[in-house]
Each structure stands twice: as structure tokens, then as C-alpha cells.
Assembly symmetry: C2
Homo-oligomer: 300 residues x 2
Amino acid sequence: MNLPANIMVKEVGPRDGLQNESSIISTEDKIKWINLLSQTGLRYIEISSFVHPKWIPQLNDAVEVANGINRDPGITYAALVPNKRGLERALSADIDEVSIFMSASESHNQKNINKSIRATYPVLREVVDEAKQENKTVRGYVSTVFGCPYEGEIKIEQVIRVCDALFSMGIDELSLGDTIGVANPLQVKKVLEELAQRFPTEKLAMHFHNTRGMALANVLVSLQMGITIFDGSLGGLGGCPYAKGASGNLATDDLIHMMESIGIKTDVNERKLQQAALFIQDALGKPLSSHQIEINSNQM
Amino acid sequence: MNLPANIMVKEVGPRDGLQNESSIISTEDKIKWINLLSQTGLRYIEISSFVHPKWIPQLNDAVEVANGINRDPGITYAALVPNKRGLERALSADIDEVSIFMSASESHNQKNINKSIRATYPVLREVVDEAKQENKTVRGYVSTVFGCPYEGEIKIEQVIRVCDALFSMGIDELSLGDTIGVANPLQVKKVLEELAQRFPTEKLAMHFHNTRGMALANVLVSLQMGITIFDGSLGGLGGCPYAKGASGNLATDDLIHMMESIGIKTDVNERKLQQAALFIQDALGKPLSSHQIEINSNQM
């Protein structure tokens, strides 16, 4: 099947999951949760976002969370940063890696960042330059790679243009987001064939949503295309911002279960991962959507 | 990607879905639902089971359902038959195709059929012989092909033995069941590589459960192995009999959505399929679990 021996799973639940949850989690619970995640074997945790608190009230305690957690030296603690001001807050909180973000589609970028794609580039370049001066690694996120809620499918040339711009800034890794969960396995193969001609596959990560149930099928194709970095949100935390109640982020626990079952090592302890999932489920006070949680909660 | 141009989707919801639902659906609603299914483009519907009513009270109206539905001559209306007595009821109701069933694992067969595997063979052979005399086609189901709730993983030699016995009886098609939803893509590939050496792939169907979220990834591998027949239960109807509240049968609508999105024709109208799904969801009075229904019910 031509599968890699191991992959890196990047946990984005504390940022991408929580930012889509309406019930506010206390800073204390976030810290406890991230400390539990640090004990699972995960080596990368995106702990919060330094966007202006008015945009994402749920994550207005990014500094307190960053300062409150126990740091395992083997784990990269990353956070989202929208601009220079956000970067300064992130640096003051000693974040290991910063993530910048934009969309492949003009209208989603405009709605999400309130700027055109062209006007976004210099803002991000400034962040990358300054982060690099501070010896931080930088991750780029591109949203709506496989489809946009306003524009539908995005031309591959447009995706390449945006990826190219971000790599030219000097980012260390690029996460390709299926923001609305429309990607299908054939499309993933086609897009990755194009991108692999231009960018090193070891610097590409896949960020799938399971909105239509195809996330793990898309992961399988990505593995066969040489991708070894995948984003997940534990328990499927976050849901889908475009269809309330529908599945959103690919659940880290479902991803890891499939990887381990097909012999791909993740170094993550599934039992400890479930304990961390149950902790945040209790804190949220509503059932999370991952299959692993469904099974463990309902075993007869 | 080496995908087929079209596939056949077999709707098993009225039998396999309903038999795992606790709230009783009226005969009238079953008939209305199957009539709606007949208008979607599906060409195969398993409408009920002729097991003794005391085992599955939900399906004790199999004769009434079979006699009450409108028959489209382009559609095969099938039903499950456990033995000669069941077959006689099925024949009296003019079922197009009968399905026989057993397990690959001894203990699941014992629990489910109340007989050893060896003692099951003559019962099934009698059904196949008599059905063939009546010019009916026969489908075989093998459960627990990829794992058993009591025995764990099943040796491939054991799976082959059971498949071989069923094909030797003269069945027309064999559906390989991942009864507890544990199959993973690598295992599916390995099992199909073995079976494809012995049996014609065009006579093999895959019956996946989405308990661990891997069903569509398993479908993808099966397609690449030459399989073109897949079972589904509309809306994910049925749940998982081994973990209350967890996903069970692969949802027909999720299956068809992925197929159409990767360019594989199913001849099924997705809009009409959703109408049929919403009908049975209303009749059940609880939300079904398919991603398509989640999205359609919650679009913002």
C-alpha cells in the first residue's frame, strides 16, 4: 500500500476546536487539558490563538494558558498569530512555534481576515520575518484549499499561488485546510500531485474536516502521496462552523486509531488520549463526536 | 487511482437498519419508505427478514411489507431467509432474491444462529437448492469477516473456508460483513487479495460498518481492489448492536456522496435519497447519524 512507517499528528483542539465551541471553558480547565494532552505522546499541541480577543472571546486567555501549562521539552507548543501585535503577545508568552493563516479563496480570506489576499501577504511577511529573528519556527495554514463556502471549488493555480507566496516568506511547514469538509479522495490526490511537483511533501500537512465522513479516506490517499503530518482535534472538538451540529475537524483519536490499526506509528497512547478527551467533554458538558468516544461511552 | 466507472449500491436499511432499532415502525411506514427508496434510483433493496418473528419483532410483518410495496421491475427486492420455513414464507410473498447468512467465526455463528458452523451448512444448502428450483437468485452474507466480538480477528483460512462453502452451494453473490466495524484499510486489502485469488471479485460485495469511522476508507481500498458492490443503510439507520449510540452500518447517503464526488456513477439521485432518509428519521422520531443528514438538518 506504500504507507509511511510513522507520522506526526498535530493536535489543534485547544485552538481550532475550542474556537468553534460556544460554551466557554475556564483557563484552569484549558491548562489542565493541555497538561493531559502533553502526557499522551503527542509531540505538537496548538494551544491557543493570539488574534484580538474581540474576535474569539473563547481564546482571550492565550497568554495565561501559555504561561500556565507545564512545558514538556519534547513537545512543540504552538499558537496562531494574525499579525505583528499578535506575534508580540505570543513571543512574550514564549510560544515555541507560531502559525500564520490565510485562505486560498479571495472571499473567504476577506470574510475571515477582513483583507484581500494581496493585502494579507505583507502582514504575514512581517510576522514571519520577526518570528525568524526570534528563532521561532513558523507554520502556515491555507484555508479553503478544497472548496470555499462562497466560491465553491478553488482553482489549483490559485492554491499554488498562495502556497508559493507563503513558502517564499520562509515558513517551515504548510497545512492545507479542507475548511468546509468537501474534499474527496480523488481531489486530494490531484491537488497533492500538483503541489508535490512544487513543494517538498515533508513540509506539507493535511488538515481535514470530517463534515461528509470522508476525512479518513482522504488521509489514506494523502499517506499514499507521501504526506506524513496530519492535524486533528481531539474528540472532533469544534464541530463545523458552517453547519451547526455537523462534524467538523477530523478527530485526533479516530485518526490515531486508524494509523495504529494499519501499522503506522504515532507514539500516542490511545488510552491516555481518551482520558484527555473525556476531560474536555466533561468540561464542555456535551458529547463530543469522535467514533472512539462514542464507542468508549456506550460500550455495552 | 484505478477506480471503476460505476458501482451497485445495495440498500439494506429496511432489514439490517430496522432490525437494530428499538422503536417499532408501522407496516404502513415501512411500505411508504420502501416506495420512496424505489424512486431514488437504487436498484436493490433488502426489504425485510423472514426469520422467526420472535427473534426480530421489528420485522414480523415481512409478508405484509412484501405484498404492500409497489414493485419497480428494474429493482431487485430481496429479503433475509434463515431456513426452509423462512424461504417458504419469502416465496409466498414473491421475493426476487433471498439472502442467507452465517458467520466466519464459530462463536458469533453460535450466538446468532444457535448452531455450529458445521450444522449451519445443510440448513443453508437446503434453502439455496429450493430457491434455485424456484429460479430465485441467492445472496450469501458472511458476518465477522474482519473481526468477531468474542474471538477477535478471524484467520483468513477460516474466512476462505466459509466463503468456499457458500459459493459451492451455488450462491450468486457473497457479501463480506465487517459486523462490528473493526476493519481497517490494510486488512481489507489483505483479505481481498486472498479472496480475489479464489473467487470472482464481481461476485463479492462489501458490507462495512462505520463504528470506528473507517468505512469510507475501507470502501476506497475495496474499489481499488476491483469490488463494485457495496451495502449501505440509509442515514446510518441501525446503529451498532455492540455499542449503543455508536455508528453502525455505513450510511448509504454518505457512500453515494463519496462515490459521486469521485466520479463513480451510482444512478442514485441524492436529493431523493435525502427525502427518503428524512421520512424514516421522522418515523423513528430520533436523529439518524449520517453526515449527509447532519449537514442537511443543520445548514446555517
